[in-house]
């Protein structure tokens, strides 16, 4: 044990070697004794006590853990925490960024019809996309899980492709498929004698198109998470249910779903946050049009902040969902913890 009571595996091992005080305890001591030795100051050599404060600090496990995490912490602080705080600061300034106006930008946004349309569209976009991603992910995960082990890897790899390709690149490919003048989809449709579809020029079809691409991109994430969850469900539970005469649906509802609830909750939460913040797909496919009817928070914030030069208003727009998502995250994570305790 270190001077402040923190177990120090390396230090105690070294001390054991130096003093030999426990050398005669033999192999019988094993782990239990070793753990005891970390928690005991008895027998600590006088030399160790005389070590400098810095040395002691460096020997703590928490210090080592902190040092090892430091690069990541710096990245998070520099690229996430600082920009987030700066964004909050920006959102409370006037357009020229010369005066603090409190919640003035938020009040202004709430008074605009177009902004409310963006709120509505963002909700439609995120909720419908996450819903379909979850459903498709669940179905495909089950299908793959039931495949013979030999073929599973191949299918897993293929189905992960959409998620692996950089989103901006795949969105460009989709844009080519939807292109208003030279759409590849429409080429096929008209070739089959069907009518061309205004994928991006009709606001409602444009909404459908951006949601479709988001589902295509995000479903593999759900698939892989659900597949991992399915693999972790103990086989004995299914065997016991089969003995009790449960059919496939009953096994799914009473065993699979309850065992996957935590994974489903975390995946949905994570995907909801990412989908609400989506920028690439809408910006590349529609730029928010036609008639502003596909704008989501990120693209509208970009329009106001970067294109129109009103950074504070753009920052306020991008932060709008923060409190709502934060509250949702708290509830979902609380549920996850509760269920975790129940299982534990």
């Amino acid at each position: 044990m270190t001077d402040d009571g923190v177990p120090d595996r390396c230090g105690s091992a070294r001390r054991s070697r130096e003093t030999g005080t426990r050398a005669d305890t033999g192999r019988q001591t094993r782990m239990a004794d070793a753990v005891q030795s970390w928690n005991s100051a008895i027998g600590a050599p006088a030399a160790a006590v005389r070590r400098t404060g810095l040395h002691r600090l460096l020997r703590r496990r928490s210090t080592i853990a902190f040092v090892m995490c430091l690069p990541l912490i710096l990245v998070i602080v520099g690229l996430i925490v600082y920009p987030a705080l700066y964004s909050i600061h920006l959102s409370m300034l006037n357009k020229a960024q010369t005066r603090f106006i409190g919640l003035g930008n938020f009040r202004f946004l709430l008074s605009r019809d177009t902004f409310w349309m963006v709120v509505e569209q963002s909700a439609i976009f995120a909720l419908s996309a996450v819903f379909f991603k979850a459903i498709i992910g669940l179905i495909t995960a089950h299908l793959i899980n039931n495949l013979p082990t030999k073929g599973q890897r191949k299918w897993r790899g293929m189905l992960l492709v959409p998620w692996v390709i950089p989103l901006a690149l795949s969105s460009l490919a989709w844009w080519w498929l939807f292109d208003p003048t030279l759409s590849a989809f429409n080429w096929v449709l008209t070739g089959l004698g069907l009518r061309a579809i205004p994928w991006l020029s009709d606001p409602y079809w444009a909404r459908f198109s951006v949601i479709l691409v988001n589902v295509w991109y995000g479903a593999p994430f759900f698939l892989i998470m659900y597949l991992a969850a399915l693999k972790s469900v103990p086989e004995q539970l299914y065997e016991a249910a089969a003995i009790d005469g449960a059919n496939a649906w009953q096994r799914f509802v009473h065993i699979t779903l309850p065992m996957m609830r935590n994974i489903i909750a975390i995946t949905v939460l994570f995907s909801l946050i990412v989908t609400f913040a989506n920028f690439d797909i809408v910006q590349i496919l529609t730029g928010g049009g036609p008639r502003n009817m596909t704008h989501v928070f990120a693209t509208y914030a970009f329009l106001l902040g970067i294109r129109s030069g009103d950074l504070p208003l753009g920052a306020a727009t991008s932060l709008f969902m923060f409190p709502i998502l934060a509250v949702a995250a708290i509830f979902i994570l609380r549920g996850v913890r509760r269920r975790g305790r129940e299982i534990g």
Binding site: K95, A96, F108, R112, D113, T114, P180, T181, L182, P198, W199, L200, S201, D202, P203, A206, Q283, T286, G287, G288, G289, P290, R291, N292, F302, L303, G305, I306, R307, S308, G309, D310, L311
Partner: protein
């Protein structure tokens, strides 16, 4: 002692000769700038056009012992604007940055006054584009130097063969490659009504015109020209919202007629949509800089051979073409402002401009009318003289959507594409015109917050 008598006439003569000498002399640096300079400039889409700028900057660097470093930044995905915004926030970056459309207004507080540079150019080359002045002269101070590189207008680019065959209009005869030979009566008759009539005939023939109605600059610019031709004012210089007017109703009616005879995809077109439409061979006309023609030259030469760039139609209040100038600004944090100003002066001289225009195959348009006689626009082909009418000639005036509102308001009007959304609500959305105007009034009210 011999004495010479100084007559009033000789003084005047000497002064005139002296002024002429100053104005016509080649540019010679007066200040020995030194050190290094970094430029963040718009990445030109015309292959080889960047090289002309690099050459000019290197020449300047060698003459003045300045090390010039250029970063070309694409406007795809607004990366140039993002970079400018980041540099303005950080207070560090390039010495000179190119700014598209409203960006000088947006970053005015961080930009160095450039009255000496622009003032000198105006003295030498005469009046400057009013759109450039509206965008870059703020409270009487120039904060940006209008550039040749990237600056553009969006006149008509029509198919000679299709117009002749299906609409009975010979655009080449109406606007020959020599302004002195224009038939005034025919030019006068080239109105928005005539344009609609031609568009209807071309639609019936299966070759519709294509004008974008999305929310990108090509769309906003042609609609801005139409609105100005009918005298539509969205917000005046004193923050009065004026959109609810008979002029607006007239212009919207023209737009409605045009939408009826255009492909339905125009609402989804980006800035390249109309180019693709013309190059595909399906379209008979667009409103664009010569980029569409230049790409057609490469991808569909038969279309390019039949393209003719000419002025836009006229409305009751005049003939207005959408202009989108580009500027160079010097950040206040620049450590070599003297050299930066020297460089901007150097690349704004007519000799330098001629090289830039040539390298861009006539796409780049200087902001001085006195430079519209450069040979490139007369020489490039096919067909000979195809882009002669690209620089505004005759009674064609330049305009920008958002003016004459104060520019902070104008920037919002332009970038939120309020004018094109009005048209799409009215036509595609089938909303009543009064409701659309009411919506626009509310949106414009929001822009006044700026």
């Amino acid at each position: 002692m011999a004495s010479s008598r100084l007559s009033r006439r000789s003084v005047l003569k000497t002064a005139v000769l002296g002024s002429a000498a100053v104005i016509t002399r080649p540019y010679v640096s007066g200040v020995h700038a030194a050190g290094s300079l970094s430029l963040g400039v718009w990445d030109h889409w015309v292959p080889g056009a960047n090289k002309a700028l690099v050459k000019l900057c290197n020449e300047f660097g060698e003459k003045n012992k300045v090390e010039v470093h250029i970063d070309f930044i694409t406007s795809q995905g607004e990366k140039d604007k993002l970079t400018a915004a980041a540099e303005a926030q950080a207070g560090t970056g390039h010495d000179i940055m190119s700014h598209r459309d409203w960006n000088i207004r947006i970053h005015q507080e961080q930009l160095e006054p450039l009255d000496d540079v622009v003032g000198g150019l105006i003295k030498k080359y005469g009046p400057i584009s009013p759109v450039a002045e509206y965008l870059a002269k703020i409270k009487g101070t120039w904060r940006g130097v209008p550039t040749t590189v990237g600056s553009q207008v969006k006149p008509c680019c029509s198919r000679i063969d299709l117009y002749q065959q299906h609409a009975g209009i010979d655009v080449r005869e109406m606007f020959p490659p020599d302004e002195a030979k224009w038939d005034k009566a025919k030019v006068e008759a080239w109105t928005w009504d005539a344009y609609v009539a031609a568009a209807q005939k071309l639609y019936k023939a299966g070759y519709p015109i294509g004008l974008p109605l999305g929310q990108s600059s090509d769309a906003v610019d042609w609609v801005g020209g139409l609105f100005n031709a009918y005298g539509v004012v969205m917000v005046d210089a004193k923050d009065n919202i004026k959109i609810n007017s008979d002029e607006t109703r007239q212009a919207m009616e023209i737009a409605r007629k045009l939408v009826e005879v255009m492909p339905p995809d125009v609402f989804a077109w980006d800035d390249a949509g109309n180019n693709r439409w013309l190059i595909s061979g399906k379209g008979s006309g667009i409103m664009n800089p010569p980029s569409a023609w230049a790409v057609a030259k490469r991808d569909n030469p038969k279309v390019a051979e039949n393209c003719w760039t000419h002025p836009v139609p006229k409305g009751p209040k005049g003939r207005f073409v959408g202009q989108l100038p580009m500027f160079y600004g010097i950040w206040k944090f620049s450590k070599n402002k003297t050299a930066a100003k020297e460089l901007l002066t150097y690349i704004s001289q007519k000799e330098a401009v001629a090289q830039l225009v040539e390298a861009s195959v006539g796409y780049d348009l200087p902001s001085f009318r006195s430079m519209y006689d450069l040979p490139t626009w007369k020489n490039v082909e096919p067909p000979p003289g195809t882009v002669y009418n690209y620089p505004p000639r005759g009674d064609e005036q330049t305009s920008i959507t958002g003016a004459p509102a104060r520019s902070e308001v104008g920037a919002q009007i332009y970038n939120q594409a309020i004018n094109t959304v009005m048209i799409s609500k009215f036509t595609q959305g089938k909303e009543k015109l009064d409701e659309v105007i009411k919506w626009a009034e509310k949106e414009l009210e929001g822009t006044l917050r700026a």
